[in-house]
Symmetry: C2
Subunit: 409 residues, 2 copies
Amino acid sequence: MAQIGVELDCLEGVTVVDFTQFEAGPSCTESLAWLGAEVVKIENPTTGDPGRRLRPGQPDNDPWYFHQFNANKKSLTLNLKSPRGREIVSSLLKKADVTVENMAPGTIERLGLGYDAVKEINPGIIYCQVKGFGTGSPYENSLAFDMIAQAAGGPISVTGEGDRAPVKPGPSFGDTGTGMLMAVSILGALYKRTKTGQGRRLQVAMQDAMIHYMRVPFSRTQQSGQAQLRNGSSRSNPALAPSALYPCKGGGPNDYAYIFTSRANPDHWRRLLKAIEREDLIGDARYDTGPARGQRAVEVDELIASWTREHSKEEVMTVIGAAGVPAGAVFDTLELMNDPSLAERGIMQTIQHPTTGAVKMPAWPVRFDGTPPRVKPSPLLGEHSAEVLSGWLGMSPQEVEALRQDGIV
Amino acid sequence: MAQIGVELDCLEGVTVVDFTQFEAGPSCTESLAWLGAEVVKIENPTTGDPGRRLRPGQPDNDPWYFHQFNANKKSLTLNLKSPRGREIVSSLLKKADVTVENMAPGTIERLGLGYDAVKEINPGIIYCQVKGFGTGSPYENSLAFDMIAQAAGGPISVTGEGDRAPVKPGPSFGDTGTGMLMAVSILGALYKRTKTGQGRRLQVAMQDAMIHYMRVPFSRTQQSGQAQLRNGSSRSNPALAPSALYPCKGGGPNDYAYIFTSRANPDHWRRLLKAIEREDLIGDARYDTGPARGQRAVEVDELIASWTREHSKEEVMTVIGAAGVPAGAVFDTLELMNDPSLAERGIMQTIQHPTTGAVKMPAWPVRFDGTPPRVKPSPLLGEHSAEVLSGWLGMSPQEVEALRQDGIV
């Protein structure tokens, strides 16, 4: 398959020393790499980022996870516990524009690479930390992963059916959602730095980041003074009808389509009635206004479901969507992976990687002048050690080889 | 209460003409405003952004939603259907660095403000569009809201209990999640523009943006060739135990805590056993490895639940977290709104607004040199019309008044 996408040069010349692992940090630095920054991932020479899930002494048994969050980066192995390794990382930090870490609380400081130490080395650096909980929080020293952030920051409390236990939103919004807020902040600080040369310290906590995505539920609590409830597939307001997942033909686990009529546009309801061949009900006072439909939500839902059950989710999405009413089929990962339009448009791109061969994977989904950035495969452990040590620090192949033999690289 | 936070000047001097509405677009331009850009929201003089939910002839009945996504912006009313209104908006666009819109497909072009027209006015502008579906997609002309994006982009398919219908993740990740990807892209393009003056066209579709947050589920599909299933509160891998929501003392709808032991760190399990006073099981072959626990997941879950049921979710989070095991209570919106630490750290800030009085609301959660940006209240409709027309275009108060009387402003 022809490679789709362009090599973006927005951040050409921007250098990033990347100490991140797993997802919240790597998703952030990867977005910088996609925009053209040179992102050098510092990994320990034995196993690398635990997101590689290397089994000791055996080849990587799950590279797919790692691929997603480390595309377009370089990998440099470095033993940060050795004095020589620390010297080398200091030299790299001296030349970097940005550094990012998301290790367990206290770890980066124990490595001698806390904010004060790095600021000393390079006062103009943008020094960034992603943690589970904020400095000053009672949970400041606790660990967090995606699901912990989604619990402690609110998303889980509003997800699930109203009369049952809550569930975790399936996507890892806790990780990548946090990474994106840090990326926005880094780029804001970088912009300023072009004028002032000013260094900065940026910090984000995953719990706090989740609150940013919870603002619609918070707006309901501001209004009511009550905790926002969960309500299955419906919107925050249970009286808003129709606004739900409707069952479609096929009866499979994802044979549903979401149909929504906005309260900002009364035409949506009339268009929907026409699309489901119930023009006889247009103007019927029982259903004509939002509040009236809210009173008869069960009836309204059945009116719609009796039509959707006779059509596939794709038909429902196409017909209702073409009628000017918001509608979306519930697509699963396999359907999206096989969707020809996503591949043609470069939203899914295929990489070639030595450990997995061809892998089709999501790209940065924003198009620049019509084209998304090109995805380059995630690096093998230490793949760019010689390149970076030579390019950044002018080391000879012999010097690199000596470091390798000493177990420093 | 003393105002917390600083006025950030990262994007000082950056001007944004903002045609966005509801959330996906406004969350993007608001992040630019929080970083210090001058964001001028163009609104129609009668009702403004439909996100204001103004009822015709009556005061705004739901300003809380609008507050969240329009803090720190200016509002300029302008009738874009009048020739004079269009002239004015052209003059503004001529002076702007960035413009963003997320209207229904075709609308911005019908207003004469499509990409080609605006590029003609200002070749150096960064022109941005947020749509439901991508150009070239079969659904290109369809409308989308948050829940439609979460259906068509995959999140709903992986959320809910395995043997039941899927549910929608409660937070509006479909909207704000998309807005953040556009903000990252705008800032990348702005950085480049400081060197080249180069204008750009950026486009993102909400369906495509959701795929970016779905990369962990996609990594499982890449590995297995199967659609990723949903699994209630558990992680993507059902054999990963413990990794679930456990019921806590109190029995209320959100009296749960997530507890997770990483497969990258075998110590987590041993630390957990110690914390729940089951040191007797440390080293017990039935539970000592991830695969062994996966075989006995029901047993493992009950072992933990029998302890969590005796403790409040806050105790569980504190005790397990302090033991070095990832743990998170399921906090609801009211608990988070009343959390003293979030307010002290400026993650929640209180604004004073003429229509709602004091409102505590989430701020941009990233700290810059220790402090998050200060939240300023969302603008009243047209609040900054005179200021912007005078500041950007040099209009006199008399000229603005004449425009107002003609219904153009």
